[in-house]
Structures are given as structure tokens and as C-alpha cells.
């Protein structure tokens, strides 16, 4: 291991272009031995691209990378791994039907005579590594049976098994509960103390301040600042990221919900894509004039629940009532007619047609207003689209540009513009700020609060607890297909919701558990 505090990685004047799109301009970054270095920036700022250049996944167009003083130019990840760089990708690349140990050694198998895999050595080495860094795992467990948090440990162990001195973690907390996140941070600290360097990519500012030694901020493909994390505030970081000061919390008055229930879900049960019971008799309601947030770690049935409400999935039991229209299953056409505006999280596949023009995307669901008999009044639809583009501040769009050419935030505004102008009383927004930059998040949140204040019912589903807390008047928590809590936002806190998201309500004394380390190990 290199001497603590010395620069192990120096990236200087890196540039990377994709055709005409310049993803990285002249970025310089140095990583010291034994530090946790956070790389923050909005989506599309170039964080992942920069790390892919370091990891050998993408060739650089310009600049130099020095690893422990030596100039290097990796032709692929294999060479980067051999040089001691490990990456834990955002979307895990594990063989689900293999055991933990098999996944860890895959491609670097310890062998006995006659090229036989030394399973015993593999398992004991894996277990020993895990133990040393607080990554306890059963080496014989099958990966597909593990929850996401533990799969992430497998990825980390995989990198450590290959002797990674520099570990890149790409958005590692996106899929974790607050407790799992804290455990991960403890592990990261142990790894750093052992002299390894951690590069931590994220856009969650609270986490950055909690765990990192130094912070580099990326904006528009440039590293615009690198500083020790002591003394930096979240506000400062946020304004560096977007280039101006933003409010992280929406200003909203107290809700005045009426008694009218715009959404009523009763005993809803749904089967997921793999045949599992994804939603188990969920019941709740959303009233006019309130924002209800649905919190939960991804994959606990939220997607299936919303699909059922929106008519994209057929429930096996229970009923959904939208503004008084009640049925087991309403086709999207029917739920829309009943009064639902739905902003899906999957913009690219469900909420937009990326290869269609903006006006076409804005006109779906509004066709009645732009038809005379069978004839489509395309010019009127285009004029309305131009008006909406201005009203919702969709940047870089004209009525005829392709939706694909817009950034994530502007695509989201396109969805909002279409859905919120339908004059409906119930709004369901799924992951409204996913892939959206901070500037646009603020605007989107403000729009949702306006909707509430104008007497509509708003139901927000988010994997981001900050978003849930900043918007909601009432918070529902979903865990393994059940709605496990219905809380008043002002009477609860991140800690409680986080515990419920992690399933701790199942343990009798969960409320008194003070440290996540006291939890029963969830290894299978």
C-alpha cells in the first residue's frame, strides 16, 4: 500500500467526446491513498464517464492518467483491475445463480492441481476478507436469494479479492435503506483506514458530508472544485453543483385536506413479473388537498402497486377507486377518463415516445381536444405544444424536436406538462426527480405543491427519502408488498421511516434498537 496521504491517482486534463457531445472537458482529479473522495455533480455532469475513463471502459481523447506516479493507458477493465483499480457499478454485474464465493472468485479463481477450482480456499479467503472489513456474508449463499444491500457487499468483496487499492463506488447508496447506508459507510471507513482509496460517486449531499474526506464537484464535464469536506455545507455544495443557490426544501403551507377521497385502494393484491406476490392486500387512500408520499426501498412492490392503479397491470384481488370510479382493473383509458394524471418513472419506455416529436408526446391523451371527427388538428396541437414548452420552461425544445434530444429534467417537464394540463383531480408522480438535475427538481416540487393547494390529491412515490419528506403531508411505507405504516409527516422522522423501510417493524423491540449493528444478520 502506498504511503497514506500521497497521491495514488492523478488524472490531468482529461477530455472525452462522444461524437459532437463533449462529455468531459479538461477535468483534473487527484486521489490520495487512504481517503474517501466524493465525486458529486448533477446527473449528466460526467461523473460516471470520468470514472469509466479511469477504469479503462472508455478511451480518453486527451489528458493523462498517472497511477502511483506511472503514466497509464488501460485498454480495458482487465488492465485496470490488474493495476489495482476496482469498480462497484451502479447496476450489479453478478451471476445470480452462483454462490457468493463463486461470484467473488469468478475470473480470478484459486486453483489446485489439474486446474481444479480450490473451493475451500475460495470460500475461506472470501469469508476472511469479508470479516476484516465488516462485510459479513455467507460464502455459500446463492446470490439471487440475497437482498440488494448484500449483493453490493459481494461486488465490493469481488474488487477486494482482486487486491483493489483504489475502489470506485458508483451511486452505491441509491438502492440502500438508511441503515444499510450507514453500514456501508462504516465499511468504507475501514477500507480507507487500511490505506485503500475510495472514490464515492453520488448526488446525495448529506451522505457526502457524512462520510468523505475530500469532495470534488463536477459540473458540465469539468471538475470545478476540490476541497476538504470539513466546513463545507450542503447548500454550498448544491450551489456549486448547479451554479446557483437552490432551495433544498420546498416552502409549503400546512395541508388542508378535505374528506373527499380521490384515490382509494382496497385490499389490492398483485403478482409480480417473476410470479411472486408483489403487493399483498394494500389499502390506503389519498384525499383532495394533500400530498401522500410512498416510501420504500426499491423492489418492495411500489412499482407493481402503481402499475395496478394506473391500469398497466391487472391485480388479482382488491379494488381501486379513482375519483369515485371503482373497479378491480381500469384500463389506462378508463382511469384517465375517471380523473387520473400519472407521471411514470420510466420516461423512456412508458411516459414518452423518445423517437416522436415533442408535440406528439404532448398530445397523447389530449386527442379529443384536437380532433374534428376523425380528422386530427395537428397545427392546433403544435400551437398548444409551443405554449406548454414556454409555460413549463422545457429547455431546448420546440414543438417538432424529438423527445430523445432533451435532457432527463426537460423530458420530465414534458411529462408534467402533458399530465397536469388534463384538468384531472388526482395526480400520481412516480420518482418525479429521478435523473433530474437540482434546478429542475425544485421546479417540479413547486408544481406538485401547487397542485395540492388547488385542491387536487397528489400521490408521490420516491426512493429518495429527502424527496418524500420535503413533499409529503402523509407518508406511507411499503415493505415486501405490505403497506406497513401510515404516518403524519410532521410526527415522524427519517430514522423511523428508514427503520420501517428496512422491515424492522417485524422485530418486537425494533423501536429500541439504537444501532444498526445490533440487527440480526440478514445473511441467508
Amino acid at each position: 500500500m502506498a504511503e497514506v496521504g500521497a497521491d495514488v491517482v492523478e488524472m490531468t486534463h482529461i477530455a472525452k467526446r462522444f461524437d459532437e457531445l463533449v462529455a468531459i472537458h479538461d477535468a483534473s482529479l487527484s486521489i490520495r491513498a487512504g481517503e474517501i473522495h466524493a465525486l458529486v455533480g448533477e446527473n449528466g455532469a460526467g461523473k460516471t464517464t470520468l470514472m469509466n475513463v479511469l477504469y479503462g471502459l472508455l478511451p480518453r481523447d486527451d489528458g493523462d492518467i498517472r497511477l502511483r506516479g506511472q503514466s497509464v493507458s488501460f485498454r480495458g477493465p482487465a488492465e485496470a483491475i490488474a493495476a489495482g483499480i476496482g469498480m462497484v457499478p451502479q447496476h450489479f454485474k453478478l451471476a445470480p445463480s452462483f454462490t457468493v464465493a463463486e461470484n467473488i472468485i469468478l475470473g480470478a479463481e484459486p486453483v489446485k492441481s489439474f486446474a481444479r477450482i480450490d473451493r475451500f480456499r475460495a470460500e475461506s479467503q472470501a469469508a476472511e476478507l469479508g470479516h476484516r472489513f465488516g462485510l459479513d456474508l455467507d460464502p455459500a449463499a446463492i446470490v439471487s436469494t440475497l437482498p440488494v444491500g448484500l449483493r453490493q457487499r459481494v461486488e465490493i468483496l469481488k474488487a477486494l479479492f482482486r487486491d483493489a487499492g483504489i475502489l470506485i463506488l458508483d451511486e452505491p447508496t441509491a438502492v440502500l435503506t438508511p441503515q444499510e447506508t450507514r453500514e456501508l459507510f462504516l465499511t468504507m471507513r475501514r477500507l480507507a483506514d487500511s490505506g485503500r482509496s475510495i472514490i464515492f460517486i453520488t448526488h446525495k449531499l448529506r451522505e457526502v458530508l457524512a462520510v468523505s474526506d475530500r469532495i470534488s464537484v463536477m459540473r458540465h464535464g469539468r471538475i470545478i472544485s476540490t476541497a476538504p469536506s470539513e466546513g463545507v455545507t450542503a447548500q454550498q455544495l448544491a450551489s456549486l453543483m448547479v451554479g446557483r443557490s437552490v432551495l433544498l426544501r420546498v416552502d409549503k403551507s400546512k395541508a388542508h385536506p378535505s374528506a373527499e377521497r380521490l384515490l382509494e385502494v382496497d385490499g389490492l393484491t398483485a403478482i409480480g413479473d417473476r410470479g411472486e406476490t408483489a403487493v399483498s392486500s394494500a389499502s390506503f387512500s389519498v384525499r383532495a388537498g394533500e400530498i401522500v408520499g410512498l416510501a420504500g426501498v426499491q423492489g418492495n412492490g411500489q412499482d407493481e402497486l402503481i402499475e395496478c392503479i394506473a391500469g398497466l397491470r391487472r391485480p388479482v384481488a382488491g379494488s381501486v377507486s379513482i375519483c369515485g370510479t371503482k373497479a378491480r382493473h381500469l384500463e389506462p383509458r378508463q382511469s384517465r377518463d375517471a380523473g387520473l394524471a400519472y407521471i411514470p418513472s420510466d420516461r423512456e419506455r412508458v411516459g414518452l415516445s423518445l423517437t416522436s416529436q415533442v408535440w406528439e408526446n404532448l398530445s397523447l391523451g389530449h386527442l379529443k381536444a384536437f380532433s374534428r371527427g376523425p380528422i386530427l388538428l395537428a397545427n392546433a396541437a403544435k400551437r398548444r405544444a409551443s405554449g406548454l414548452i414556454r409555460k413549463f420552461d422545457v429547455r431546448g425544445a420546440t414543438d417538432v424536436t424529438l423527445a430523445r434530444s432533451l435532457s432527463g429534467g426537460n423530458q420530465q417537464k414534458l411529462q408534467l406538462a402533458r399530465e397536469l394540463t388534463r384538468g384531472t383531480r388526482l395526480v400520481i408522480a412516480e420518482q418525479p426527480s429521478r435523473g433530474v438535475d437540482i434546478g429542475a427538481i425544485e421546479a417540479i416540487h413547486r408544481i406538485l405543491v401547487e397542485m395540492r393547494d388547488s385542491g387536487r390529491g397528489v400521490f408521490v412515490i420516491s426512493a429518495d427519502l429527502d424527496e418524500i419528506f420535503s413533499l409529503s403531508d402523509r407518508i406511507l411505507v411499503m415493505y415486501r408488498g405490505h403497506i406497513v405504516a401510515d404516518l403524519v409527516a410532521d410526527d415522524t422522522d427519517l430514522e423511523e421511516v428508514g427503520r420501517l423501510m428496512g422491515g424492522l417493524h417485524e422485530e418486537p423491540n425494533a423501536a429500541h434498537a439504537t444501532s444498526p449493528r445490533e440487527r440480526a444478520p440478514r445473511v441467508h
Partner: protein, 370 residues
């Protein structure tokens, strides 16, 4: 709209238009160059060969009328395929649908005597229904059960050939040595207007169909919905379009238009249903639709290109001894280049920096709903 905005808009549409022409023009260009190399390799002068091809296809009314005759069925089949492709359905069964349409027109043409003013429309309607019925098999299997329509269409083509062959050779065979149905009645004959070819009034029906579909695509709500279904069926379903009902309608309409090609052949060219009359107009329709990028007006141009090449190829073989199959080679190269362009853009999308994880693909056409 201000003058400036109008100017930007115009240059924008011009740019889009120019870009949409790029691939077909490049494909034809590459085919011409590759074909020239091939001709040179067999010891002929490529410039001379192309000159004869062009002359044989275009110069002089006799040649041109043959070219137009060969263009007419391709307009129908190309339009049929283009309609389905635009809605994201891969109807490559136009050959079989055309044969069934031809059979229906042939039967109504001789077996249902009626005045001219009724008889021709009756035969054409029968052809449309015949094609649509044949298309209903892959359509229903695709839309309600999610069976791949490519496979079903491909299998339906030889079935149609053998079935119509059976009818022409056994069940309804006209007396005589040829496997054909009895000649259609004079009241059902589409007028021809050339001494040199069988060019007939069917070409006006074909052009009218293209105009109707072009209008439908651009100016009607249904046309808009079909396009959205083709570009993103999940988005269409989410947005309240009845995806399955519309997909079924597209498929049947596409089969019906392919059936019209059969009516033109029977009523205009052969005056009877003959077994195995088609040199593969239904398959060439796929090339036409690809070359036309699914545009109805483009279909007219692409069908004429292939029709003229086919007309020229006969002359070419007579005058130089270069096999008329050279033209087929050219046609295949065009299709290959266009298919390559398709896979290039597909590869290009995949090689972008990795996007978010893909949710499980779901096909609203086969989702158990609607």
C-alpha cells in the same frame, strides 16, 4: 408565426427531409457500384449494362409501359408492408395475402355476373377481404397470444401458394391444360391502355390508395395513434390508446391492401386467376417499404425504381446475355444496405454510455388486458 420562425421551421423540415432521403439514396448508390463491380467481374462493361438497363426500363412508351405494369403490384404490396411496419407490426406475408386476394377476385370475377359498374368494385372488395382474412391468422395470433408474426407470416405464404394452386388445379379448374380458374367475365376486366404491355387502370387504384393512406397517416387521429403504437406501444397503451384493437385493424388493413395487388393482377393483367402467377411481388413489397421508409409517397417512387429495373432486365438479357437476375442482385444489395443501416443505428444506441437498468420488457399488445 413570424417570418424568421417560419424560415427556421422550413429549413428544419428540409433538413429532416434530406436526412430521410440519405439512407435510401445511399443504398441505391452502393448497390449500383457493387453491381457494376459484379458486371465487370463477368467481363462486361458496367456502363454499357447500366445504359441498357435504363433504356430498357424508361426510354420509349413500350418500355415505360412495361415498367409501369411491373410497378403497379409493387405499389400495393409495398404500401401494405409499409402500413404494418409503420405501426410496428412485421407483416411480411403480403405474398400470401396477395394470392388469396387474387383468388377471391378470380372467383367473383367469373362466378358472379353483374353490371360492370358493380362487378369491378365487387371483385376488388372480395380481394381486399381475401387478403384481410389471410392476414387475420398472424394478426390474431400476434395481438392476442403474442406469437411472433414474422414466423407465422412466413409460413402462411407457401400455404397460400399451395392452397390457391389446389383450387386452380383441382377444385375450380377451368377446362384445358393450364392450371387456372375460368376467365373472368368481360364486366370485371380493368381496362388496359397500352398495346405493348398489360398496364391497366389498376395503377390509378394503386396511386389512389397511396394518396388515401398518406392522408390517413398525416391528418387523422387514427393515423396518429397507429404511428405512436409503432414507435412505442407501451407509451400508446399508457396514454389510453386501445393498442390491441388498433394493432388488429392495422394488420387486417395491411393484408387487405396486399390482397388488392391480387385483384389488379387478375382483373387487369391475366383476366383470370392463374396458379403461381406471382414472381414474388409480395416479397419485393418488403424491399419497397424499406426503401420508402414506410412513406406512402415513397412507396410509389421505390416501386417504380424496382419496376423499371425489372422491365430493363428483360431487355438486358436479350441484348447482352447478362442474366436478368443481375437486377435481383441489385435489389438484394439495396435491402442489405438498408438492413445494415437499421442494425447500425441499433448498435449505435447500444454503444452509448450505459443508461439506467432496463425494467422488464412488457408488450402491451399481449398484456392480459384491453
Amino acid at each position: 408565426m413570424s417570418i424568421e420562425a417560419a424560415a427556421t421551421w422550413t429549413s428544419f423540415t428540409l433538413a429532416v427531409f434530406a436526412r430521410s432521403l440519405l439512407a435510401p439514396v445511399a443504398a441505391v448508390g452502393i448497390a449500383i457500384v457493387a453491381g457494376g463491380v459484379l458486371v465487370a467481374a463477368v467481363g462486361q462493361n458496367p456502363f454499357q449494362v447500366y445504359a441498357i438497363l435504363i433504356k430498357g426500363g424508361l426510354v420509349g412508351w413500350p418500355n415505360l409501359s412495361v415498367a409501369l405494369q411491373l410497378t403497379t403490384p409493387l405499389i400495393f404490396t409495398g404500401l401494405a408492408v409499409a402500413m404494418s411496419f409503420r405501426a410496428g407490426l412485421w407483416n411480411i406475408g403480403a405474398e400470401g395475402q396477395m394470392l388469396m386476394g387474387a383468388l377471391a377476385a378470380g372467383i367473383v370475377g367469373y362466378a358472379a355476373p353483374s353490371p360492370t359498374i358493380l362487378h369491378i368494385p365487387l371483385c376488388i372488395a372480395a380481394a381486399f377481404v381475401g387478403g384481410a382474412l389471410w392476414a387475420s391468422v398472424p394478426a390474431v395470433l400476434r395481438v392476442y397470444l403474442g406469437v411472433n408474426e414474422l414466423v407465422v407470416c412466413l409460413m402462411m405464404n407457401p400455404i397460400a401458394l399451395l392452397l390457391t394452386g389446389y383450387v386452380a388445379a383441382r377444385a375450380l379448374k377451368a377446362p384445358g391444360p393450364t392450371n387456372k380458374l375460368p376467365d373472368i367475365l368481360d364486366t370485371a376486366v380493368l381496362p388496359t391502355f397500352s398495346l405493348f404491355s398489360q398496364l391497366n387502370a389498376g395503377i390509378f387504384i394503386a396511386l389512389a390508395c397511396c394518396a388515401i393512406v398518406a392522408f390517413f397517416n398525416h391528418a387523422t387521429v387514427r393515423g396518429f395513434e397507429w404511428k405512436i403504437i409503432g414507435l412505442n406501444p407501451r407509451f400508446a397503451h399508457y396514454g389510453g390508446i386501445a393498442v390491441r384493437r388498433n394493432a388488429l385493424a392495422v394488420f387486417l388493413a395491411s393484408g387487405g391492401v396486399a390482397g388488392l395487388a391480387g385483384s389488379e393482377q387478375v382483373l387487369g393483367v391475366y383476366k383470370a386467376f392463374y396458379d403461381n402467377f406471382s414472381p414474388g411481388y409480395g416479397f419485393d413489397g418488403i424491399a419497397v417499404a424499406m426503401l420508402a421508409k414506410n412513406s406512402p409517397i415513397g412507396v410509389i417512387l421505390a416501386a417504380f425504381l424496382l419496376g423499371a429495373l425489372n422491365a430493363g432486365s428483360g431487355i438486358l438479357q436479350m441484348e447482352t446475355g447478362v442474366s436478368k437476375y443481375l437486377v435481383q442482385v441489385l435489389q438484394f444489395i439495396i435491402v442489405l444496405v438498408l438492413a445494415a443501416e437499421f442494425s447500425f443505428s441499433w448498435l449505435g444506441n447500444r454503444r452509448r454510455p450505459p443508461a439506467r437498468s432496463a425494467a422488464t420488457e412488457k408488450d402491451p399488445m399481449t398484456e392480459p388486458s384491453g
